[in-house]
């Protein structure tokens, strides 16, 4: 199934007319997701935003499958949306039955009707704050047109999120995102400490922090703050 660039341009024009200022952000996100779903002719589309613990939570979904995507990625701490979020890169997975990158996630995703995923990070001030993703229940070799279309919708989502964060009306969603942004500084510092002390890659340092938070059932930001504090103490 191909994505027609003409349809995408038309949809973006229409979405461009949305006056986000006069609309609830949640409503605008829902419109973006519905349009993405329709344009792609996919089985699911969704917009996920990070919370304070950097878990990706659904902010708007077109389909019940997106709830599985959210839940499975949080449970297994891996998956295409997490990869897009952490690597700040477009991630394509055309067949999860053949996918080696996220073994635990894939095993469960396939049984719940998620076979292919395309996920694009939503950037905001140097880091991703969430992802826009589409899913298919069949194997799907995503085309260049599909990638470009998803990028265009992601840009729109970024615009919406920026206006939400700068807006006067502090919604629950804006508060969630703001706390994610606030916790990021300390998490980044802790990553830096682990990279310096143990020679880890940024990716492994992050994985170690998350594992520790999970094992000790504590917040990622709190574990991170402790790592940073200990490093300062060891230095002085």
């Amino acid at each position: 199934m191909s994505v027609s660039m003409q349809d995408v341009r038309h949809a973006l024009d229409e979405l461009g007319q949305l006056r986000f200022g006069e609309m609830r952000v949640e409503e605008a996100m829902h419109q973006i997701v519905q349009t993405t779903h329709a344009i792609f002719d996919v089985d699911g589309a969704g917009l996920m935003l990070a919370d304070v613990d950097h878990h990706l939570l659904n902010a708007a979904v077109s389909d019940e499958r997106m709830r599985h995507l959210e839940e499975l990625q949080i449970r297994h701490q891996e998956g295409p949306c997490i990869a897009a979020f952490e690597d700040k890169a477009l991630i394509r997975a055309e067949d999860l039955t053949q996918e080696a990158r996220w073994p635990s996630f894939c095993k469960h995703a396939v049984t719940r009707g998620i076979r292919a995923v395309l996920a694009s990070p939503i950037p905001y001030n140097q880091d991703a704050v969430g992802v826009v993703a589409v899913t298919s229940e069949d194997r799907r070799p995503w085309s260049a047109e599909a990638e470009l279309a998803l990028l265009a919708f992601t840009d729109l989502a970024a615009l919406l999120i920026a206006s939400m964060l700068l807006g006067e009306h502090q919604t629950e969603l804006a508060a969630q995102l703001q706390s994610a942004l606030n916790s990021r500084a300390i998490i980044e510092q802790a990553k830096g400490v682990l990279i310096g002390q143990q020679g880890l890659t940024a990716h492994d340092a992050y994985a170690q922090l998350r594992l520790q938070a999970r094992t000790e059932r504590r917040k990622l930001a709190i574990v991170s703050a402790e790592v940073v504090r200990n490093a300062i103490r060891a230095d002085s």
């Binding site: 700040k88 890169a89 905001y124 001030n125 140097q126 992601t154 840009d155 970024a158």
Partner: protein, 125 residues
């Protein structure tokens, strides 16, 4: 973000509307040699950094350099808007020269290819 280092914030960040949590910023430095200006970008290019990129670009083009190079080796992510801004910089060059994109990482290169903006640039691996 208006702490003691607000002068730094002003130098590096977009103007007022930058928003909250400006803990880390992109840096965009200009290196000028006769006839050639290199714009060295470290950090990600997104909606928030776009006003800053536009401002730095305006400064770079003011001296009408013969050749404009963007060193993107330190940039992991670039959104479509920033890609367009960079590709369109060629309009400010004499004789319709194309801006050079130096050492783009795979993600950035992919964006240029998907948007077709690579046709307006010279890519230097």
């Amino acid at each position: 973000m208006n702490g003691p280092d607000s002068s730094e914030a002003h130098r590096n960040g977009p103007p007022e509307s930058a928003g909250p949590a400006q803990d880390r910023r992109v840096t965009i430095e200009l290196e000028t040699r006769p006839g050639i200006t290199t714009i060295v970008i470290r950090g990600e290019l997104d909606l928030v950094t776009m006003p800053y990129l536009a401002a730095r670009l305006a400064v770079a083009l003011r001296d009408r350099p013969g050749r404009l190079v963007f060193d993107l080796s330190g940039t992991q992510f670039m959104d479509c808007g920033s890609a367009r801004l960079i590709a369109d910089a060629g309009h400010g060059l004499p004789g319709g020269g194309r801006p050079v994109i130096r050492r783009p990482r795979p993600g950035v290169r992919r964006i240029l290819e998907l948007t077709g903006l690579d046709a307006h640039c010279e890519i230097e691996p």
